[in-house]
Each structure stands twice: as structure tokens, then as C-alpha cells.
């Protein structure tokens, strides 16, 4: 049952444009993540937020910026997209405590194609 919702499902754009992806989780979790999955299915963490605070910021280009209005929402903006940004962007959340504190709950992803 889906509890992490991502929009849009797909987005096609031109090099140099700005794009924004949205993510909302209804699980009441405190921590949310953005992962990038390339064409070979490799998953790389980009950012992590805990209760609206940035706690993990991997080495990603500065054109990527996460935005969190509350702990249930974590959006991703890309200014001036590049061809190498073509990928699936996956949002995830996890609970802070309890027996399943390490479990990530993923959305279905946003597939970005940069022409």
C-alpha cells in the first residue's frame, strides 16, 4: 500500500530548464530522503531531512536543492538541468524509533528525461 507519494511520475524537459519534484509521506515519519537511480539501477543517496532539518547532503551539484515545508513533505528542485540528470528520483521516509527504524519506505519515483 503506497504511503509515499511522488509527483509527477514522468517529466521530459530540455537542457537548462528548471524542474521541481514533490514528495509527501502519510506515515508520520520524521526522516525523509532523496535517492537518484541511474539507468543501471544504481541507487545513490542525495539528501536526508529530519523534521525539516537537513542532516545528510551528499556531494551533488549545486543546481540540486531540497526543500521541506514540514516533516511530511520533501521536494527537490533542479535549476538548469543537464543531460546527466536523466534518472529516476526516489523519495523515501523512515520512522525515527521502534523496531523498524532502519526501514526505508519508498515512493514510486519520478523519471526525469533531459533532452
Amino acid at each position: 500500500e503506497t504511503a509515499v507519494f511522488q509527483t509527477p511520475n514522468y517529466h521530459v524537459t530540455q537542457v537548462g530548464n528548471e524542474v521541481s519534484f514533490n514528495c509527501k509521506q502519510t506515515l508520520g515519519h520524521d526522516t525523509m530522503y532523496w535517492y537518484k537511480q541511474d539507468s543501471k539501477k544504481l541507487l545513490k543517496i542525495m539528501f536526508s531531512y529530519n523534521n525539516k532539518q537537513l542532516i545528510v547532503n551528499e556531494t551533488v551539484p549545486r543546481r540540486f536543492s531540497p526543500q521541506s515545508s514540514d516533516k511530511a513533505h520533501l521536494n527537490l528542485r533542479i535549476k538548469s538541468v543537464e543531460p546527466e540528470d536523466s534518472a529516476v528520483y526516489l523519495c523515501a521516509s523512515r520512522p525515527t524509533g521502534g523496531t523498524s527504524a532502519e526501514t526505508l519506505y519508498f515512493g514510486s519515483g519520478t523519471r526525469l528525461t533531459v533532452l
Binding site: L43, R94, S100, F106
Partner: protein
């Protein structure tokens, strides 16, 4: 660099057969998770096994963990076509929690 890695890119079996996916990792861990990703969906956790555990089961799934060789395996018995997916192992090592995923093993189960 990848801290966790599955040992096979792709596996193919027929329904009803058993299959094992292996994973190796390079750092000390607190837990290892196995995830499955079906086409068009995000990964979903199958099993979490902690560093002080050696085996964990979930229905037809069995995960093992060997911290001395830094390896884990996920076995699926009586495979079904719906088991067709990419299987990932993911490691975590406490502190600033950021699970690291392996490259994934694509499993195809043929009817």
C-alpha cells in the same frame, strides 16, 4: 565508492525453483536489509537482519549474515513469476543514518 554490492548482475530461473542472491560489503555494519524493486515501483524492504543475527526468515525468503566474511545471502524458495524484480542489499552503520545500496541483481522467473 559502493560499500555494498550484490555478486551477480542477473539471474534467471523457472517457477518453482530456488534461487540465491549474494551480497558483500566493505565496512562494519549495524544491520543489513534486503529490498526488492519491481518495474515502475520503488524498492520495498523484504528482510532486515541485524549484525548480531545470523539468519532471518520471511515466508519463502531466508536471509543469512556472516559478519566475519562481510557477506549476506537472500534465498527464495518455490519462486513465482511475481518474484521477478531487482533485488538490493543495503547496509547501515549507525551514526548519521544513510543506507547504502548495492548495485542490484535482476531476477527473472520464467513460467
Amino acid at each position: 565508492s559502493q560499500l555494498a554490492e550484490e555478486n551477480s548482475w542477473a539471474l534467471s530461473v523457472h517457477e518453482g525453483e530456488s534461487v540465491t542472491v549474494n551480497c558483500s560489503y566493505k565496512t562494519s555494519i549495524t544491520a543489513l536489509q534486503w529490498y526488492r524493486q519491481k518495474s515502475g515501483k520503488g524498492p520495498a524492504q523484504l528482510i532486515l537482519i541485524r549484525s548480531n543475527e545470523r539468519e532471518k526468515r520471511n515466508g519463502r525468503l531466508r536471509a543469512t549474515l556472516d559478519t566475519s566474511s562481510q557477506s549476506s545471502s537472500l534465498s527464495i524458495t518455490a519462486t513465482r513469476c511475481e518474484d521477478t524484480a531487482v533485488y538490493f542489499c543495503a547496509t547501515s552503520s549507525g551514526g548519521n543514518y544513510k543506507p547504502t545500496f548495492g548495485k542490484g541483481t535482476s531476477l527473472v522467473v520464467h513460467p
